[in-house]
Structures are given as C-alpha cells and as structure tokens.
C-alpha cells in the first residue's frame, strides 16, 4: 500500500434525522470518517444502526441533515445522485426487468452519452470481468440470484465509478455462493483499484474482505480499524460482542499496571495489564476470546471448574465451562477434542497477553 494515502471520502460530523418533531428519529449522530483511495472499507453493524443510511447519503438518495461529505476533496452534498461519480450495488440488485443483461450493464454508459464503440467495448469488458458475457441477451428474471448479483456488480462497475458502494450485496445468496462471492469481490476490488464501501451486518464477511472496518451502532461509530485490530482489541463491549464469540468476565482489580492482576467472579485469579486509571478494588470487565483459553484435565478432585456443555462443530469443539456459577466459553482445537467430555473437571489457563480490561 502507498505511504501517502489519498482521501476518497471524507465524512465530517454527519447527522441524519428522519421525520420531524416528536416522531423524528436520529439515524446518524455526528459521524466522522475518512475512507482512503483503493481501500476495501466496510461499514459493519446490526440492522437499524445507520450503516445503510450513511451509504445512501454518500450515493445521494437521502438529504443530509447536518455535516459534510467530500469525494476526492469535492463537496458532493448538493449534487443529485446522477451527478455523483459513485455507483451502487443494491441489496436486491434492482436490475431493470424490461432490459436484457447487456442493456442493463450499458445503461449508465448510454446515459453518459458515450460513443457506440466505447459502450460496446466497456459493456463486454465488464460482462467478461464478472463472467456473464454469455448471458447478455437474457432478461434479469431468467437468471439465478448469484448471476443477478454479478450483473448488478457489472452494471455498477461499467461507468468506472470513483467509489463503488455495496449495500449488503451478498445477503440474499446462499452460504456457499456467499463465500465464493466474498473472494471474488475482494479480487475484483484489488484488480480494479476502485474504492469499495461495503455495508454488511455479517461480521465474518467484514473480517474476511475488508482493509478497514467501521463498527457502527445506534448511529454512532464505535470503532474504526483493521480487521485484526477490531477482533483483538475491541474498544468496548459492543464491538467485542458483535464481532465473534467472546467472554466478558466481571471481576475486581487487585493490582493495576503492567503486571496487574484481578480476581474474577469465576473464582480465578488472573494476571493481565490493567490501566493505571483503574483503582485497586474497583469492579472491572475482562475480555477474553474463547480460542485463547486453554484447558487441561484437572489433577485434583477439588477443581472448581467443570465442562457443562460440549458442542462438536467439525473443525473444533465449543465447550461451556462452569465455575462458581459463572459460564466461560472456550474453543478446543480439533486435535484435543477427543480428550474431553461433558462433566470433566478441568483447570483453565488464562492467557496474560490476550486478556484485557474493556470499557462498557
């Protein structure tokens, strides 16, 4: 990646309010966000969090209530959608049912009054890019969901947008197809060099494809970062909970600082880094991913922890550990699955480097 990043989209203090008076709903509350050129950027959040609203504001389908959006340093909020050099892949594709695939893809080029040869060259080029060139004479309703998806992609790419907006484009595909399309989308983004802004509620999709992710909840950005940052170092409990499986264990701080320690409600005493701002004796919440927890058979009969649930999922096993009436989730790697069974007494090894204090 370049050292000098170009700002593709700058979102400054954007607020969107639907309706007026008492019935008004604040969909976005002062969002600040910068998306760089050539980036695969994902807006991730539960439904109703405002991520689609943000995308629609960039595309121009909604009027902005407050704030500013710049596209490559140009203000775009006063432009109608047809004057903005961005294109959208819609959630349900929104292909024109009265036009065949070729005409669907050529639609934007015709509206831009490109010359005939150029339209033909570019349309065939993008159809080939999504491997749909042999379907050009079909109507959209003669295609499967996955094929329609590719056409929608080709249609949005045809006019060579500066930024491609994707509104949960994979949500109506079945699992196998969705996984295949993830790889394809990612490759497509790399090959075309176009900035992708991808909206999804699926954390797995976000983690596998994105260069950076913005986690949104209640119209506010919770965290922006690379997938591994967001997964390993979530800003708060919402982000930790929303992305992947998680243990959020409450406890009392025994000693703060680099070599801090705390007493968990589970009865365990663990070592971890605790910020200086936390005082001794203060209640804290500790964040640990299940796969970071190692369990071993207990050698004594007096262990306080037992396996209360055991779910085999093929490539691993999820185990539920009961300790002092508190539940801890752990993931057993595949080669250790057969060593344990429900009811076993065990000892837990907490990882010092992968346990951290987390804000509400």
């Amino acid at each position: 990646m370049n050292d000098k990043k170009i700002n593709a989209i700058e979102i400054k203090n954007v607020t969107k309010v639907y309706g007026a008076g008492n019935s008004s709903v604040k969909a976005l509350k002062g969002v600040d966000l910068t998306i760089y050129d050539n980036e695969f950027f994902t807006l991730l959040g539960p439904s109703g969090c405002g991520k689609t609203t943000l995308l629609r504001l960039i595309a121009g389908f909604e009027d902005i209530t407050e704030g500013n959006i710049k596209l490559f340093n140009e203000e775009i909020i006063s432009l109608p959608p047809n004057k903005r050099p961005v294109n959208t892949v819609f959630q349900h594709y929104a292909l024109f049912p009265h036009l065949n695939i070729y005409e669907n893809v050529a639609f934007a080029l015709r509206r831009l009054n490109k010359n005939k040869d150029e339209i033909e060259r570019r349309t065939n080029e993008v159809l080939k890019l999504v491997q749909m060139e042999s379907f050009s004479k079909r109507k959209p309703n003669q295609l499967s969901g996955g094929q329609q998806q590719r056409v929608a992609l080709a249609r949005a790419l045809a006019p060579e947008p500066k930024v491609l907006l994707l509104d949960e484009p994979l949500s109506s595909l079945d699992l196998k197809l969705r996984q295949a399309m993830r790889v394809e989308l990612k490759n497509l983004q790399r090959d075309t060099g176009i900035t992708f802004v991808f909206v999804t509620h699926d954390q797995e999709e976000a983690l596998t494809m994105s260069d950076r992710i913005a986690v949104i909840s209640n119209g506010e950005i919770q965290q922006i970062g690379k997938p591994e940052d967001i997964y390993e170092n979530p800003n708060n409990q919402f982000v930790a909970n929303f992305i992947g499986e998680v243990n959020l264990l409450s406890g009392i701080c025994l000693k703060n600082g680099e070599n801090g320690s705390c007493k968990l409600d589970t009865g365990h005493e663990i070592y971890l880094v605790i910020p200086q701002s936390v005082e001794e004796g203060e209640a804290i919440t500790v964040f640990i991913r299940p796969e970071r927890i190692t369990i071993n058979k207990s050698l004594s009969e007096k262990s306080l922890t037992s396996i209360s649930g055991f779910t085999y999922v093929g490539n691993a096993a999820h185990v539920e550990l009961l300790s002092n009436n508190q539940i801890i989730n752990a993931t057993l790697p595949i080669d250790r699955v057969k060593d344990f069974k429900k009811g076993d007494l065990i000892e837990i090894e907490f990882p010092k480097d992968h346990a951290q204090v987390i804000n509400k």
Partner: protein
C-alpha cells in the same frame, strides 16, 4: 393420482358453473339477441319481423335512391371514421394528462395518495348525463368560460367563442368522462413499481427525462395499455357527450346506434352497426393483446 386428477377437473367444472350462467345470461345472451336482430327485417313501428335479411348490414354501405337502384352511401363510413379519430384523440389526450397525474399521485405519501385516488373516483358518484350537462354550462353561450373571457376583456360582450357543438366540445366531454379510467390503471402499475429501480436509474446517471423515458414509461406499460383500452373502447361507442356537446349535428357511432333504436325505429340497422362496432373493438383488443405479450414476460418476475 389419475382419479384424483379427473375429480379435480369435474370439481372445477361444477365450481365454475355459476360463472358460466352469469356470463351466459348477461353477456353472451344479449349479444346473441343483437346478432339475431341484426339479421332480421326491421319493423317500422319498432321491433323486427322474424324474417332473415341482410338489409341492416347493406344499409351501412349502400342506399336505395328514388329509382330503386342501390348506390354507395359514404355517410355511415364517415361516421365510423370520425368516431375512430375522436376516440383516438380522446385516448391520446387522456394519456397526456393521465400519465403525469398518475405519476404524481404515485410519488405522494400513503395518506395523500389515498385522498387523491379518492378524488379521482369522485366523478363516478354522479350520473354521467348530469356531469355532461355541467359542461354545457361551462362551454355554452354566456357560460363560465365565455363570461370570464368577457370579464377579463379578451372578447367583447355579445361575442361568442362558439365552443359548443364542435368536435372540440365532444373531445372535451369524452376526455372528461373517461380520464379516471386512464389514471387508475397507470397508477396501479406505478404503485407496484419498485422504487429502488428509480434510485438505481438515478445512480446510473439518468436525468429526470431519461428516468421517465427509459424506466418509468416501459415499466408502467401494462397500465398504459389497460388505460388506453378502457378509454378508447367506451369513447368509440359514447353517445352522451357527442349528443349533448356535439349537438347531434355530427353523428358518432354511439349516437347513431342509440338513434336507430330510440327514434328511427330501425332495430336491425342499429343492431348491424352495433355488431360492426363490436368487431372493431375486438380487432383493437386483438392488436393490443399482441403488443401486451411483449411486456408480459417481465411482469411475472419472481
């Protein structure tokens, strides 16, 4: 499986029986009576002699002169032609007014939409005859239009615009009477149109005009075709507006038929003209069905 299948067919026949009875009594029956009447000799005092004759049909094209010779009479062909032209014009004007109206209504909020659609249907609550009489007050000598023109000084007092008893007056009456039948089907197809398609078109650089031409117009085609039939067919046989606003000076098919039954007491001729009208309507519907077929395939999108 087979037995069940047969049972199903039987059930269907039985279940549909009331429908066939209704269609038989109220549609096919009267048509058959008309067809029979058109093939009879007419009775001068009304009704018909039960005697086979093609006189009714012959009278459409030929006339018998003083010497008992049969000669070509273009009068009725002209009436048919005039009816076609007026009905077509009324359809086109209704479309020009109705399409934007339907589009406007379909883009409003649910509440406003319901009110507007209600208003569109309000005229149906009053008798057509009375509503057409109202147009005499508007268009007639010293009527609403003329007196406001005089008030504004566009014309002198005592002068007249001669609005009444013209083809334009008939046209106004026809458009007024059948405009709702154009608006409603177009509105219905715009209503179920996927609004995301309009967003997609705007996203793909459509101006307002190309949005209408390339997306809205083709997608509301089923409604447009339906509306055109609903306006064109009744206009072809209309007689209230032509009689009241055209003054019966220029006969149209509808008035001609009505006149033959009510005043001229020439039932078989009236029935024959009605059969010709029916044939023309069937022809129009047939052509329309062929155009419609093209739009059918994407309408059933799943």
């Amino acid at each position: 499986m087979n037995i069940q299948g047969e049972n199903k067919t039987q059930n269907r026949v039985v279940a549909l029986l009331p429908l066939w009875v209704v269609i038989g009594i109220f549609m096919i029956g009267p048509l058959l009576v008309m067809a029979v009447v058109s093939l009879m000799k007419s009775n001068v005092y009304g009704g018909v002699h039960f005697e086979f004759s093609l006189d009714g049909y012959k009278q459409i094209l030929f006339d018998t002169n003083l010497f008992g010779e049969r000669e070509f009479n273009p009068a009725y062909v002209i009436i048919i032609g005039r009816s076609f032209v007026l009905a077509s014009l009324a359809t086109i004007i209704s479309f020009i007014i109705g399409f934007p109206a339907a589009y406007y209504i379909s883009r409003q909020s649910k509440k406003v939409k319901d009110i507007l659609i209600f208003l569109v249907t309000v005229p149906f609550w009053t008798n057509l005859l009375i509503r057409t009489f109202a147009w005499i007050i508007i268009l007639g000598k010293g009527g609403v239009i003329e007196s406001s023109f005089i008030f504004l000084g566009f014309i002198n007092e005592g002068d007249t615009l001669n609005l009444m008893y013209t083809n334009s007056a008939i046209l106004i009456g026809l458009v007024y009477s059948y405009l709702p039948l154009m608006v409603l089907p177009i509105y219905a197809s715009m209503e179920k149109m996927d609004m995301r398609l309009l967003e997609a078109a705007a996203d793909l650089y459509s101006s307002r005009i190309s949005l209408i031409r390339k997306v809205i117009l083709p997608l509301s085609m089923p409604g447009i075709i339906g509306g055109c039939i609903l306006v064109f067919v009744p206009c072809l046989g209309a007689f209230i507006a032509p009689d009241l606003l055209g003054g019966g000076k220029k006969l149209l098919l509808g008035s001609l038929i009505q006149f033959q039954f009510a005043s001229a007491r020439n039932w078989s001729f009236g029935a024959a003209v009605a059969m010709v009208l029916l044939l023309l309507v069937i022809l129009v519907l047939f052509f329309n069905a062929r155009i419609n077929k093209k739009h059918r395939d994407y309408e059933t999108q799943g």
